[in-house]
């Protein structure tokens, strides 16, 4: 069903160049390219140094027993730390909570973000104002926003918990998780909406007009035209948000400090690394989070066919 649509928007994408083989470059072009690479090199080297080195160092630390409080007992233990973490109930509880928070908040954000994007896209009056207002939550520092949620749900100062007649919601697991999700959704829906709006701009007006001429209802136009055309944008938005949501830290740190089994994997890593001073176990957890994030990205890109940032599947612009 999406085939008919996929072939249509070729006018948006520039026609791909006919010859596939490697073009022969002139002398001048080659020199130009060499200069380009040389000019890029410093930036590329710095990037590698600041990203690759910490990753390699974490992996190296994760293979050691290294507790800052026992500097004399530092030794190489191969995969013992991984066994310790992966066989521990606390880790899997945190992992489950993180996965739950990620899935639920991203799904809600997608739905609300889509609605918001449609509103922002279709607004005729005060378009700038609507867009600015809807972006305010995203502009507020997460910790600051988290504190206002914290006080709103506290028993002493909490106008929201008074309003709902809730009894200290932040002291029980399920209500705490709901509040964390609420805080996350409130905060990042605008970001989602922004990414989706960029996708909406890709949907050609003619296509929608043609569909409605053919008798498609508003819902049919949305599901059969808009969504398929927007698919790349939606996937990129989902990818960004999922990766981001999986690393959730600040909202939990402020709202519950991980009490009542609301700890995420990032919280737990922080507890082991910074508070526990256990560089070995802490690095192991960081590496595991890195692997989890890599798997998420892999699933999105390979299985769902999201385009990696910077790649344009439609050909060269």
């Amino acid at each position: 069903m999406s085939q008919t649509v996929d072939s249509e928007p070729s006018e948006v994408v520039a026609a791909p160049s006919p010859k596939k083989g490697k073009p022969v470059l002139s002398e001048g072009k080659r020199a130009e390219r060499r200069l380009g690479l040389l000019l890029c090199a410093p930036a590329a080297i710095v990037m590698v140094a600041v990203t690759a080195w910490p990753i390699i160092y974490s992996v190296w630390l994760s293979l050691q027993r290294y507790d800052l409080r026992f500097p004399d007992q530092r030794e190489f233990v191969f995969l013992d730390n991984y066994i310790a973490v992966l066989s521990d109930g606390y880790w899997w509880t945190a992992f489950g909570i993180t996965a739950l928070l990620t899935v639920v908040s991203v799904v809600i954000e997608l739905v609300l973000g889509m609605l918001l994007a449609l509103v922002m896209h279709r607004t005729i009056v005060g378009r700038g104002l609507v867009r600015t207002v809807s972006l305010i939550p995203y502009g507020i520092v997460t910790v600051v926003a988290a504190f206002s949620w914290f006080y709103a749900w506290n028993t002493d100062t909490g106008y929201l918990s008074d309003l709902l007649g809730a009894d200290a919601p932040l002291t029980q697991q399920i209500p705490s998780l709901l509040i964390i999700i609420l805080a996350e959704v409130w905060k990042t829906t605008p970001f989602m909406a922004l990414l989706l709006m960029a996708g909406l701009a890709l949907v050609p007006e003619d296509l929608l007009k043609a569909a409605s001429m053919d008798g498609a209802s508003a819902w049919q136009r949305f599901t059969k035209v808009i969504i398929p055309v927007m698919k790349p944008a939606i996937l990129v938005a989902l990818l960004f948000r999922t990766l981001d949501a999986f690393r959730i830290f600040d909202n939990i740190f402020v709202l519950t400090k991980g009490a009542n089994d609301t700890s995420s994997v990032s919280m737990q890593t922080y507890n082991n690394l910074i508070r526990g001073l256990n560089l070995g176990i802490g690095s192991t957890m960081s590496v595991l989070i890195f692997i989890a994030v890599a798997i998420i990205a892999f699933i999105f890109i390979k299985l769902f066919g999201a385009s990696a940032p910077g790649n344009d599947p439609g050909g060269k612009r």
Partner: protein, 434 residues
């Protein structure tokens, strides 16, 4: 994009000047020896430092580097710097539970000779124990701290002496429609561990062996779990017990329309309620912390002053640390900031702050006017409970707080088993922190 080349050059020049200026300023202030004191925020501590700078007479200048307000934040900042080998740290304000950990990591300089004699002189036994590790002195006690039972004398003219008595009184008060709540620190953090440690010691129990190397968790420790469960599930605490830290406990008693009858908290609440709720302050009384059977043994808190092993001015740092916790400084801090002294003589000091003028509660306070509860504090300090002295205290505390939360869900036998298990792993620094 829009700025012209001249504009950009101007900007660069301005930036360079700024950098140069700040470098010059940094050099200017360190003309003499500078002793950096990393210590928690304490309102009038700067005055103590100013006094000590006067006494140093130009030999060095003590600079107050204020750490974050919460204990975890303080520890984190110092640990991060020390682990990175920062030589700028000279004197460290350590919570009483951190000395073994910092000493074992070789971050602290041992106190020896004259300095040691001076740091041990006149110090109460409980606080002194917290400054030692492996029979060596690693810090000088700055102040101690100990919780009292605070109550409203119009609600309960005769305060309870044991937890169970207090629970029964609270239930009765609730039935009569009077303020009834028992407020204590029940959130999943160090405060809950302090409460539990007090209960264990009061029940004559032990969590760890004396050398801190093995888990004991005896009868007394299980008895304490029973009491903790009882108080948390009897319907006599604040509904947000599991979110209550010191501040929430203090505010819970002070707020208008408070339903609290009892508050277990540090002495600072006395000064705080005078401004927080002057009406209730008139009937705000204190007594010894409730026991389990017999008198309580209450957990001590407070701060110790240590010298960093990476300091480049160690002799001056020792001298500065000694001055900051001298009898005179401790008296000033007790009167001005409400932190209980660790020196026995300060409690008996009747002179007001300015000994040449008569004592006066507002303008020239003395220990007696500012510290009416000093006798109760002394009584508790005579037989205190020390939190387990071990290198891995932080892990111990995190796991204890986790296993005890929420207190209403404690099942004494199985919780004790969980705790024994988790603590044993923590002692071996195996397993992970929740």
């Amino acid at each position: 994009m829009r700025s012209s080349p001249t504009g950009r050059r101007l900007l660069a020049a301005a930036g360079a000047t700024l950098v140069a200026a700040s470098t010059v300023a940094a050099c200017g202030s360190s003309s003499g020896t500078q002793i950096n004191v990393y210590y928690a925020p304490e309102q009038n501590f700067q005055s103590v430092i100013d006094e000590c700078n006067k006494e140093a007479n130009g030999a060095y200048e003590i600079v107050y580097r204020k750490l974050p307000r919460d204990a975890d934040g303080q520890r984190e900042q110092m640990v991060r710097r020390l682990a990175a080998g920062d030589t700028d740290l000279d004197v460290l304000g350590l919570d009483v539970t951190w000395v073994p950990e910092f000493a074992e990591a070789k971050w602290l300089e041992e106190w020896t000779g004259e300095n040691k004699t001076a740091a041990e002189q006149d110090v109460l036994d409980g606080p002194l124990q917290t400054a030692k590790w492996n029979d060596k002195l690693y810090a000088a006690t700055k102040n101690t701290n100990i919780q009292l039972l605070w109550y409203d004398e119009t609600v309960t003219p005769k305060p309870p002496t044991t937890w169970r008595e207090m629970i029964d009184m609270a239930k009765k008060l609730k039935g009569e429609g009077k303020p009834y709540q028992i407020l204590f620190t029940g959130a999943q953090y160090e405060g809950l561990v302090v409460t539990y440690n007090t209960m264990v010691a009061s029940a004559g129990g032990k969590i760890l062996s004396d050398d801190g190397k093995s888990v004991v968790m005896d009868e007394g420790a299980v008895e304490a779990l029973k009491v903790l469960k009882e108080v948390a599930s009897a319907g006599v605490t604040d509904p947000s017990l599991t979110n209550a830290q010191e501040q929430q406990v203090q505010q819970g008693f002070e707020k208008p329309g408070s339903e609290a009858a009892f508050e277990l908290n540090w002495p600072y609440v006395y000064a705080s309620i005078q401004t927080g709720n002057p009406d209730r302050a008139k009937h705000f009384k204190w007594t010894r912390y409730p026991g389990i059977d017999g008198p309580s043994k209450v957990t001590i808190g407070g701060y110790n002053m240590a010298v960093s092993s990476m300091s480049t001015h160690k002799p001056e740092a020792f001298e500065a640390a000694l001055c900051l916790r001298s009898a005179k400084s401790q008296k000033f801090s007790a009167i001005k900031d409400g932190v209980p002294p660790t020196l026995a003589s300060v409690y008996d000091d009747e002179d007001p702050l300015d000994p040449n003028k008569p004592a006066d509660a507002t303008n020239n306070p003395s220990m007696t006017t500012a510290y009416p509860m000093k006798e109760t504090i002394q009584e508790e300090l005579a037989d205190p409970a020390i939190r387990p002295l071990t290198v891995v205290y932080q892990n111990l505390s995190t796991i204890t707080a986790k296993v005890l939360s929420p207190p209403a869900d404690i099942d004494p036998q199985s919780t004790a088993d969980d705790l024994r298990d988790g603590l044993q792993k923590a002692l071996e620094s195996k397993g992970i922190l929740p």
